[in-house]
Amino acid sequence: MRDMFKLFIVIVIFSVISGGVLAAVRDATKDRIEYQQLVFVKGPAINLIMEGCTNNPVQDRFKLEDQGKERDFFVGEFNGKKDVVAFETYGKGFGGDIGVITAINTETDKIVGVAVTTHSETPGVGARAKTDPDFRKQFNDQPITDVFKVKADGGQIDALSGATISSRGVSAAVVQAGEIYKRLKDELKKKMQASQG
């Protein structure tokens, strides 16, 4: 019985110490990991749609709360003015959620560009949502207040052939981006003017 007790104590002590160590390391690396993830996972998509911007959108990011959820907003500077904001939303695709970054010009309320970040769509079919420039360029210069739908649903977006569900997912993500933008527009503008200073 005493033997059992000793085994128990040793295991507990081991677990407590390793738990403590891990919590400390996690805490110390948290901010850096977040930055690295943004640079390597969202960075390529952001650079794609913010082509020609004169700042580093990942560095010039800020957080805002929307309906109890914190979101990252990336600011792009064009012609010396920080008036483009980009953020990520998700739409339901064929193989899971599709992450879509939408960049919006806050002066004109028009979409600057749309790009897919993470997805698990079928390679060569739904995955073209990320690689096919013709598909994502359909969103460019459209007013963000529009409701985007694929043509099969009576909308304006040409779906990728054989990948209606993936195309629908991207459209839904952009629509969601529009809703968030409408809710937060004033706050966003205030934040961006502050960073301009």
Binding site: I11, V21, R32, I33, Q36
Partner: protein
Amino acid sequence: MAKTVVQEFTKGLWAEIPPFRLVLGLCPTLAVTKGVENGIGMGVATTFVLICSNVLISLLRNVIPKKVRIACFIAVIATFVTVVELLMQAFAYPLFLSLGIFIPLIVVNCIVLGRAEAFAAKNKVIPSLADGLGIGLGFTLSLGALGAIREILGSGTFYGMPVFGESFQPFGFMVQAPGAFVCLGLMLCIMNILGKK
């Protein structure tokens, strides 16, 4: 003690070099050696875990009760593996993305647990450190060599830089899973022939 510290160290580099002589840890060996960089990255991560766990387990060898030793070893190893995973995410994110699931899987790498059980639990700290360093370095070298052969033949590059002229046709088979088996088998065969003399 019959063997000196130097002998404990050098045995890992030839006489007991992990993937070829011990034929342990084959899962990461086969899976990540598509290129030199991945192979060495994996090797260094494993070496770090191996050294830390060997030293700590050797220090605690009189505290850990025999009956629960495996559970204690796993707790120690898992802690170090998670530390490596977090550090890699923070400082080498692209490497983390390409190694992916194989970093957390170091926990169940037979080499690490094997050295803890067979060596560190029975020996003093300094020989255990030498053992961990030697085996880890041997593992890194093997992975690096395997990665180099597969990368040079399979994609015509070394550490991402092209080594052959434009006209080189990559031998794509070598960077696929079957190529890993064939390459490992041939290297094992060569080492056995050399070892016989």
